[in-house]
């Protein structure tokens, strides 16, 4: 990543909820050992029961931010607080139990000989007995719809199955926050839809806060409560999907394309000479707009 300066110093902050903060990233910068800047003066928070999508192009700093959330990376400057406690060597030790991270490449996450062994890995490290860990692992696999894969070797799983298993591996630890790095990259539309549904269920049924790093704005539009746009290691805008995705200039600056729903609605309004009264970001909202207009 090149050493770049963000043009904006103040992010565009729109309507933000005042739910309690679970994670607070306070003006954090991270410089990699080779001198390249990962993130620069980045402020970010995760609140209870929300899905935050961190959107940006390749090399914008999304993954770097995610790795700060569970202590894998240490800030060069600034601080990260989790559940009100500042991260230090002591608090980082057990942070992995509360903040789970699913990496972009599922291949890197699956190292055990069978799926069940892999999903049991986290619970066993938490000190659970083998029977309890097995029980929890089976429940996690059931939650992602991958129970039939328990005795399979990770080598023989498809890309979508690997992604489901890697999510189960983190879910089995029953974290309060889950960070997903590009959860639908390399997936076919069917598996991407499955992952979307799982993410929504985790938030609605399990009360887990989710942070997704993605450049897939269609995914972010469908499921996110809040969007943070990242460019050159800094957050340049933050708001609801409707506020962010209808800001063409902002998206262009960040090197992103509008979600398809937004493109369809814009084209629809343009072709009929209509004023854009609404800002649909999901399929359901778009259908309602078509019905009304």
């Amino acid at each position: 990543m090149a050493l770049l300066e963000s043009k904006r110093t103040e992010p565009t902050v729109c309507h933000i909820s005042v739910e309690p903060e679970l994670i607070h990233v306070d003006c954090v910068s991270h410089i990699y050992p080779d001198g390249s800047l990962g993130i620069h003066n980045l402020c970010f928070k995760v609140q209870e029961k929300e899905i935050v999508a961190v959107c940006g192009g390749n090399g914008s700093g999304k993954s770097t931010l995610l790795e700060h959330l569970n202590g894998l990376l240490t800030p060069s400057d600034g601080c990260v607080s989790v559940f009100g406690k500042r991260l230090d060597a002591q608090t980082k030790k057990n942070l992995w139990k509360d903040v789970g991270i699913v990496f972009q490449r599922a291949e890197d996450q699956l190292f055990a000989p069978t799926v069940l062994d892999d999903v049991m890995f986290g619970p066993l490290n938490m000190g659970m007995s083998i029977d309890d860990a097995k029980q929890v692992a089976l429940e996690a696999l059931k939650a992602v719809g991958a129970v039939e894969l328990i005795n399979k070797m990770p080598n023989y799983l498809s890309g979508g199955q690997k992604r489901l298993v890697s999510m189960a591996g983190v879910l089995a630890m029953q974290p309060k926050i889950m960070a997903l790095d590009e959860p639908t990259s390399d997936l076919d539309p069917n598996h991407a839809e499955i992952i979307e549904k799982i993410i929504l269920e985790l938030k609605n049924k399990c009360d887990i806060s989710i942070v997704i790093a993605t450049h897939d704005l269609d995914l972010a539009a469908q499921i996110a409560d809040r969007i943070c746009i990242v460019k050159s290691g800094s957050i340049i805008a933050e708001g609801t999907p409707a506020e962010i995705f209808y800001n063409s200039e902002l998206l262009e600056e960040a090197g992103l394309k509008k979600p398809k729903i937004v493109q369809i609605y814009d084209e629809f309004c343009k072709s009929r000479g209509l004023e854009r009264k609404n800002r649909p970001v999901t399929v359901v909202e778009l259908a309602k707009c078509f019905t009304c207009e």
Binding site: G100, F103, D108, F111, A112, P113, K134, M153
Partner: protein
């Protein structure tokens, strides 16, 4: 040893493992043995069988020299056949539990991680070879260029595996790994018949060691 080899081969065949493949795999131990004995076999004292003149030097192959080759070859083939039989008929869960219980750390950890590592590395090599061949890499004639190409592939595999290992380690640490990987798959307890078999085999081995020399 011939009898032992035939017995092990028969057990291998009876287990349903592929015998034809086994004979193809024999090439490796045979090459290994010959690379070791090629010089040694000419130095054994005994009844001379064949004499050769090479560069003004007389070298003689004796009966003991030939027996050395046969003995080493048989040992290599017996070990390999039995190892293949063991690996092909033992489920990974049993093997990992045995390794976990028998070997001290970090040897058990290395073994347990190796299994997946082997598959990942083979996949990496496979992908690279495909990429190579798709751009005419397999058509290169000439030993030097081929060797160079494979050396480059090997170096790349080495570097990438290191890079991959770092990423896997990070993912493991993100799930609480602190240096101890537990082999947790449940296995059945062995029965009295199996205990009896183990005791019988150990008794035979002990008898052979104490009262007869094991060749």
């Amino acid at each position: 040893m011939v009898v032992l080899y035939i017995a092990v081969l028969a057990i291998y065949w009876l287990s349903g493992s592929p015998v034809k493949k086994l004979f193809q795999w024999y090439l490796l131990p045979v090459m290994f043995v010959f690379s070791l004995v090629i010089l040694l076999m000419w130095r054994e004292p005994g009844h001379p069988l064949v004499s050769l003149w090479i560069s003004g030097m007389n070298i003689t192959l004796t009966d003991n020299g030939l027996l050395l080759v046969v003995r080493l070859l048989l040992k290599a083939l017996i070990s390999m056949t039995f190892s293949m039989f063991f690996l092909m008929t033992t489920r990974y869960a049993y093997l990992s539990t045995m390794i976990y219980r028998v070997f001290p750390p970090p040897i058990d950890q290395i073994f347990l991680m190796s299994y997946r590592f082997i598959f990942i590395t083979l996949k990496m090599v496979n992908a690279m070879m495909k990429a190579l061949k798709s751009r005419g890499g397999g058509l290169i004639k000439g030993m030097t260029r081929q060797s160079q190409m494979f050396a480059e592939v090997f170096a790349l595999v080495f570097i990438r595996s290191y890079d991959r290992a770092e990423r896997v380690n990070k993912a493991m640490e993100a799930r609480g790994y602190s240096g101890k990987y537990i082999a947790a798959t449940g296995i059945q307890r062995i029965g009295y018949v199996e205990y009896g078999f183990i005791i019988g085999i150990l008794s035979i081995i002990a008898y052979q060691i104490l009262f007869h020399s094991l060749v």
